[in-house]
């Protein structure tokens, strides 16, 4: 069954020639419309996750549902294939169930609004926006149970429904859904924000049609997609080899004691098409770390990584999709079978970018970045205020940006674009907590000619009883270094009770009780290093020592000896560097750190946590 699009005006659009200048102007206007969508959500949403942390994604698609401007690529075709019913002027579709949209959204927390834009009885475009809701009900506050066994535990699943039917608001559906969630006020406001953004896009599309003519607008979209196809075709031809290249990285664990889970991808070119095959990826997990990856979304990630350097002004769109073939084995971590749990897919989603970087950079190591795309470390804290009201926080953390050909990786920054931290004074004002420490973790960035960025250490002191949940990764498998750079340090979480006792706690835990005065030290990963550490300017290390970013001991990883005053001891440095040079083997392209068996053996000693057991030991 596929959706039936009801167009009351049967006149076909006239195919017309669009001159290149008009095309560029339409492209610009689309770009402006998308920026306006972002701004609308930022200004009206309530949950800090969407608002400050930018966890929301806009899109404008052509009448056939292909994204002409946006970020994650379009899923609309897939949605239309699965939707049974009419799509009419005035309809607004709302959904959150990943299994009903081929993974366009990948967990129930992401609410998606889809708005068909009709003009004079004809469909001219689509607008869509999705954003992460702080809570959608289910077994734990935040709706992201790390030990979730099926999607039924992960809050309310919204199949594609009409929030507006031919312009009429379906209030009862909204009421039904909001009744299931812990933060109905935020959800209502955030949903309004997403819809307001789509409405803004709708107005802009109408203006563009009025300005250029409906036929020209439709033809221009077509040509923008074609332009992208041509650009990408050329790029693939010149940069992707027919020879197969593979890359492997891991998710450390599944929150139930099993791991690491392997993600394996092979890339090669056949004619003008590139194939990305995930054969060799581990089977799906019994817990919630599965990532139902939309194939188009992955094509988009691939395209963006490819084009970053060539024409950064280009407006990225779906035009090149026919050139990319993504193969994901059924029942694997990246294409789990219903009703597998999906809520904690953030780790695999992040890891996909490290894999892409590792794959694409292999033929030209000078363009290769180190690893660091851990995930989006989450902290959830909820409970009752002294006045009896419910509070609930969902916060995304950040870490070390990897060392890059371009330069050092920034310390404590976001790999996701446009995300920011929630201001600590905001947290302290509206939640019973105090942020005692907010800095970067010394020496956590991998050594390299270009240093990996340090991870963040944030110490939360809880001022009221409540429960916390933590989602993080890269605590067991290192963020790798490249071209001689060493791996970054792994993530760690330490709970310090009010009485002073300190315990290392897991990086994926649910509903841990905390009390007034307890402190949580939340430490994130450091980025891998890039290039030979022995080539890093020794004086720079002296400066970084003074800045508290690298310790004296840490400087030795670069072969640099600092004296008691923090100055470079030149003689000792020269000697140490000569010695290190003489005693090392050839520099490999990748430095993954110790092999997995060794990591397992030393896990308890090095991380304070028991090693995860291999995933195949799960009782499937």
């Amino acid at each position: 069954m596929t959706a039936r699009i009801v167009e009351t005006n049967p006149t076909p659009f006239n195919p017309c020639e669009v001159d290149p200048i008009t095309l560029d102007i339409v492209e610009n206007a689309l770009k402006n419309a998308r920026n306006e969508m972002d701004a609308t959500v930022y200004r009206t949403a309530m949950s800090p996750g969407i608002r400050e942390q930018g966890d929301s994604f806009p899109l404008i698609a052509d009448r056939k549902g292909r994204m002409v401007v946006g970020q994650f690529g379009s899923f609309i075709q897939g949605f239309l294939n699965g939707f049974e019913g009419d799509i009419e002027d005035g309809d607004v579709i709302w959904l959150s169930d990943p299994y009903s949209c081929e993974g366009a959204v990948s967990h129930n927390n992401d609410w998606l609004i889809l708005l068909p834009i009709f003009r004079d009885g004809r469909l001219v475009a689509w607008a869509s926006h999705f954003g992460h809701q702080t809570d959608v009900g289910g077994k734990v506050p935040g709706s992201l149970p790390t030990d979730g066994g099926s999607i039924f535990q992960e809050g309310i699943r919204i199949p594609p429904v009409k929030l507006y039917k031919k312009g009429e608001f379906q209030e009862e559906i909204l009421n039904l859904v909001l009744h299931q969630v812990r933060m109905p006020e935020w959800c209502r406001s955030d949903l309004n924000a997403l819809l307001a953004a789509c409405r803004a896009a709708e107005r802009r599309v109408h203006e563009m049609c009025a300005r250029f003519g409906d036929d020209v607008f439709v033809a221009a979209n077509e040509e923008l997609l074609a332009r992208n196809y041509r650009a990408m075709e050329q790029l693939i031809q010149t940069t992707v080899s027919e020879e197969k290249l593979s890359f492997t990285d891991y998710i450390c664990d599944d929150g139930r004691g099993f791991g690491p889970y392997k993600i394996h991808c092979t890339m090669w070119r056949e004619g003008n098409r590139v194939i990305l095959d995930f054969d060799g990826t581990d089977p799906q997990s019994e817990s919630s770390i599965n990532f139902y990856m939309n194939e188009n979304m992955f094509k988009m990630f691939f395209g963006i990584y490819m084009i970053m350097v060539f024409d950064p002004q280009i407006l990225f769109n779906d035009g090149f999709y026919p050139l990319v073939d993504v193969r994901i084995p059924d029942g694997s971590l990246l294409k789990p079978k219903f009703p597998a749990a999906l809520s904690c897919r953030t780790h695999a989603l992040g890891r996909i970018f490290d894999i892409l970087g590792g794959l694409l950079g292999q033929r030209q190591p000078q363009f290769l970045n180190a690893a660091g795309f851990s995930s989006s470390p989450h902290l959830m804290f909820s409970g009752y205020n002294p006045d009896g009201s419910w509070f609930q926080l969902f916060q995304i953390g950040f870490g070390g940006i990897p060392g890059r050909p371009f330069g050092d990786g920034p310390d404590g920054h976001s790999l996701w674009p446009g995300f920011t931290n929630v201001p600590n004074e905001f947290l302290e004002r509206y939640y019973p907590m105090r942020i005692e420490r907010y800095e970067t973790e010394i020496d956590s960035g991998g050594a390299g000619k270009h240093r990996g960025g340090n991870g963040i250490i944030m110490t939360y002191r809880f001022l009221s009883e409540g429960t916390i949940s933590i989602h993080d990764d890269r605590w067991f498998i290192h963020p790798w270094g490249v071209n001689g750079g060493t791996p970054g340090k792994r993530a760690r979480k330490i709970l310090e009770r009010a009485d002073g006792t300190r315990t290392v706690i897991g990086n994926k835990i649910d509903e841990l009780k905390v009390h007034d005065g307890d402190q949580l030290h939340y430490i994130t990963w450091g980025g891998g290093g890039w290039g030979d550490p022995l080539e890093r300017d020794a004086d720079l290390l002296a400066l970084e020592y003074k800045r508290g970013l690298v310790s004296r001991e840490g400087a030795k990883r670069y072969g640099v000896v600092l004296d008691d005053a923090g100055k470079v001891d030149e003689a000792a440095t020269n000697a140490l560097r000569a010695d290190m040079r003489a005693n090392r083997e050839d520099i490999p392209v990748f430095d993954f750190g110790p092999p997995i068996e060794e990591l397992r053996k030393n896990a308890l000693e090095e991380t304070g946590l028991a090693a995860p057991r291999p995933p195949h030991q799960q009782s499937l």
Binding site: N28, M46, E185, L195, F406, E436
Partner: protein
Amino acid sequence: MSYRLGVDVGGTFTDVLVVEDASGKTWRGKVPSTPDDPSRAVINGARKVCEEVGVNPEDVNYFFHGTTVATNAVLEGKGARVGLVVTQGYRQILQIARSFVPGGLAGWIVWPKPEPMAALECTIEAPERIGAGGSIVRELDEATLRQRLEALKTEGIEALTVCLINSYVNDVHERRVAEICADIFPDIPVTISADILPEMQEYERTLTTVANSAVRPVVARYVQHLRESLVEWGMNGQLNLLRSDGGLMSAEKSREAPVSLLMSGPAGGVAGALWVARNAGIDNLLTLDMGGTSTDVALIENGEPRLRRETSVGDLTVRASSLDIRTVGAGGGSIAHVPELTKALRVGPESAGALPGPAAYGRGGKLPTVTDANVVLGYLPESLLGGDMELDRKGAWLAVKSVADALDISVEKAAEGIIDIVNEHMFGALRLVSVQQGYDPRDFALMAFGGAGPLHANALGLLMGSWPVVIPPSPGVLCAYGDATTRLRAETQRSFNRTNDQTSDEEIAALLDEIGSEVTADLIAEDIAQSEITLRYEIDVRYRGQAFEVPLAIEAEAFRKGTGLARLIQSFDTEHKRLFTFNLDVPRELVNVRVTALGPSGELKPGVIPSGNGDPSGAKLRDHKVYMGGEEKAAAIYARDRLRAGDHIVGPAVIIEMDSTTLLHDGCVADIDDHGNILIVQA
């Protein structure tokens, strides 16, 4: 006779305007800017004009000045070396910079992270803690702080900043830390965040205060130098600087809060436009200030420019009020190119700058720029600067040809394409300040100035539907008019952060009065009589849970009468609906309360030009041809200084004057008003 002087420092020229207070008569002058020490050109220009006119420096009572000294210090990284004291645990606050990475997905791969404005090695921690409610959680450990400050002595800092967590609620530790700083560093200025920005959000407050410290010594030196030179010349009147928000403040005060000068330059243009518009009877207008490398746009509604609560300069965004001016990297020098991969025509953001400049300038530039496209199309027909500079038409043609060949179209077509695209960039910026704020641009006039604005204004009027398009006289020196005609201003705001059910009209009225007397005292200290001071009140409101506020003007009287809160809620809902299409049924949070005190406005009568009979032929220089709308069209060239009030010109036409050229499109007509403004409308 008494006089006042308006002086605006631009990148190339420093403009001077002398006003006779009694008659409103004005004289203008222009001298080359002196970037190494801008005060030199300021003094030279002022002297030159005054001597020409026969004005004695003792008779100059007021000296008004828009300056880019602070802006340039930031852009060129030449601010002072700033020491920073933060709360224990927050040393790396500027290094982490809220973790923000701009750009799209994978943007981090090519992002150059700017260095923190206060170097990390110059940042120390004060052992202390204030809680979110204002209580002292940990007492300040003064001994440890002193040790750390002593250790900072080797770093060669020139200014010190103190910004402690939650100081916006309780600043007792900040003040004590500042005392200790002054004790250990008696010779350098100390700024505390509670004085600059007593608002929630530690990063923005720290950055703003640090930025203030960084520009403080530079501005102080400049002001002192300027003052000394003026005294030496014989002028002892009051020296006022233009703030980013379009108000004036005394030079002496600006030394303490120079962060409010970061947009002083562009604010002058908007203030000047405001003055021209008022005289022309226009209340609603958009401004377009187009220069060589960038264009500034702003919106004025009911005679009031929109303000925003931040100021952006380069990578730096601080929380200081500024006129809501948006800048795009599109100007006369913007370079056109066609990337191999996409075969799209791109214009900017790279600019040929002043050197080598556009190919048409014949200074070695070979790349096609917007100016070259204007030359190819006949829009820039004559020599520039009144004959001081001839244009290299052949060079411009060859440069644009490179783009035409890459696109496989004619040179004229390519030139029109370049103009269309750069206009589109400016259109985008104008939409940002209008459509995206819920305004319909068709309700606004469009005023263009700056060197290149009048060339592109008519096209933007067509795109926006904003009429008339107004080209003021001497569009190149409009800023100096702004400097001389705006008002003294003092502003203070407090974080309030209470919902409507947690406060009362009474409480708000008391707070308004308290802040009101503070800002009134500020202006009285500037020798303004109490009776001449106007107070304006604003409250920033949002739905509880949102992070973005809507600023709303309020009447203090209504709160005294007990009706203010209800009205505030009502106007918030209306505004939210207008901006975002929906309302919510949750409490409204009153985030900030702000009071602005304004001094009397500098009355200045506009000049009047002689009337003509409607026929512009006396000003016509010659017949001409322009390429417009895909074909060559007959046009005429006029000299602006010979046009008379009432003259009516039919497009296409080109109107030239010393520092600017106005393009009148086919299908449009221009009328000259009594003040010499060119008013363009569709025929």
